[in-house]
Symmetry: C2
Subunit: 233 residues, 2 copies
Amino acid sequence: MSAHGPISLAADKDNGSSSSSIYDAIRHDILSGVLEANARLKISELAKRHNSSTNPVREALQQLRGEGLVLFTPNQGARVRPIDTEFVRDVAEVGYQLEPYLLKLFVETASAEDVAELERIQSEIEALNFEDKTRHTDLNHAFHETMYERHYNRVAFGVWKQHREILGSISTRVPIAIGRQEAILREHRALIEAVRAQDVDQAVKVLDQHIGDAGRHVVDQLRIAQARRHRGS
Amino acid sequence: MSAHGPISLAADKDNGSSSSSIYDAIRHDILSGVLEANARLKISELAKRHNSSTNPVREALQQLRGEGLVLFTPNQGARVRPIDTEFVRDVAEVGYQLEPYLLKLFVETASAEDVAELERIQSEIEALNFEDKTRHTDLNHAFHETMYERHYNRVAFGVWKQHREILGSISTRVPIAIGRQEAILREHRALIEAVRAQDVDQAVKVLDQHIGDAGRHVVDQLRIAQARRHRGS
DNA sequence: TCTGGAAATAATGTATGATGTTGTTTAGAT
DNA sequence: ATCTAAACAACATCATACATTATTTCCAGA
C-alpha cells in the first residue's frame, strides 16, 4: 500500500468529553494549517498543550488515523498527513465522482426556499468579492453543502464532506486567479438557474465544469507554490 | 447528523505492534460477523480476550471509530455500527459512483497478463460454482481488486476498498439467487471481453449493470432476512 | 570528517486508582 | 402489590506512574 491510503466514512455526534474536544482541536489545527503537513505530533507535547494526560491524546490521534488525516510510523508515532499535489488531485477526483450523484437528488427535490438560500449565499459571496479567503472558502462550502446535506445517502454525504474539508483547507492557502474568480461566480449563477429550471442534465453539466476547474486550479496553484519553495524562495 | 456518518479514507501500513494486531482482530470480527451489528464493545472484556491492557484496546476502537465501523456514545462506550439496509444501500451507491472511474484507467492500460489474471480468477469462480460463499466473496473481491489496485488514485482505491469490505461482509451472509449466479458469471465474462477489446464504453456499461444488480440484490436479500426476523422466525 | 556508542527522547504497553455516569437492585413507603 | 428513592455494581473515562523498547541526538575519539 502506498503512502496514500483512503480517507474516512466516520463522523458521529460530538460528546462533551475531553478526548472529543482534543480530537476537535487537533483536527482543526491540521485542517487550518496550524499544524503543517508532515509535522510530528508528539503525544506529551499535545497533552501539555491541551492540559490533559497522554491517554486522551493517544486516542484522538488514533481516531484521526482512522480518518486518514494522521499517519503512524511504528515506534515513531504520528505525523500530519502530507497534503501534496497528488493527494489533493486524488481527493478532488473522488469528490468529482460523487458530486453529480449528490446534486441530482437536490435538483429533483429543491424547493423555492432552497433556491432562495442558494441565492442568499451566492450574494454573500459576491459581496465579499474574494477579500477574505477563509470566509470565501466557508461560504463556498456552505453553497455546496446546502445542496447536498439533505441527501438520503449519509455515507456519500460524509465522504464528500470530508474530502471537501481537505480541499477547503488547501484552497485558503493558495491564491485565486482573477479569471478563476469570475468563473466561480458565473458557474454558481448558472447552477442556481439550472436548479430553478429543474434541469438535472444542465445542472450536472455546469457542476462538472465547476468542480473540474476548481480542482485543477487548486492543483495548479499548489504546483506553483511547491516549485517556488523548491527554488528556495 | 444522522446515525449514518461517513466511512474512512484511512489505511496505512501494518506495523507489528500489539495495538495493530488488536485493531486487526476487532476489525476482522466486526466484518466477519463474529461481533454482530450493534454489539456492545466492552473495553475490559476485549482487553482480556486479547491479553492486553485497556489502553491498546481503547486506541484500536478509536481508530475503528475514525473508519466508521464503531460508534461511541458518551459514557457508554463503543458499539459495532449497525449495518442495516439503508447503510448497505448507501455504501453500495458510493461504490457505484467510484467503480467506473477506477475501471476506466484499467481498461486503457491493461496488459495481456492482466487479462490472463482476470480469466484465472474467473475460472476459479466458475469452478467453485457458489459452493463456498466466503471463498466466492473473496474471489469476487479479487476480480475487482485486480482491475483497480494499480490505479494512481490511492484515495479513490482506498474508499472503494473499504466499501467493498463492508459489502463483502454482508454478502457472505445472504443467499445468492440462482438467476443472480448466472448473471454474475455472464457479466464477468462480458467485462473480460470488453477489457480485451480495449472498449472503455462497453466495459463501463457492463460494470454499471453488474454492480447495480449486485447492490440491489444484496439490499433485497437483506430486506427479506430482516422481514423474516421481524415476523419472528 | 567520519564513526561508535552513550545519553536523551519518545513511543508503546502495563498497572492502578479516582471520578462520574448509567443501569439495576433493593428497601421502604404508600 | 406498586411506586419511589437510596444503595450498589458495572463501566467509561481520565490521570498517573512506571517498564520496556526503539529512535534520535550528540559527543568523544579515530
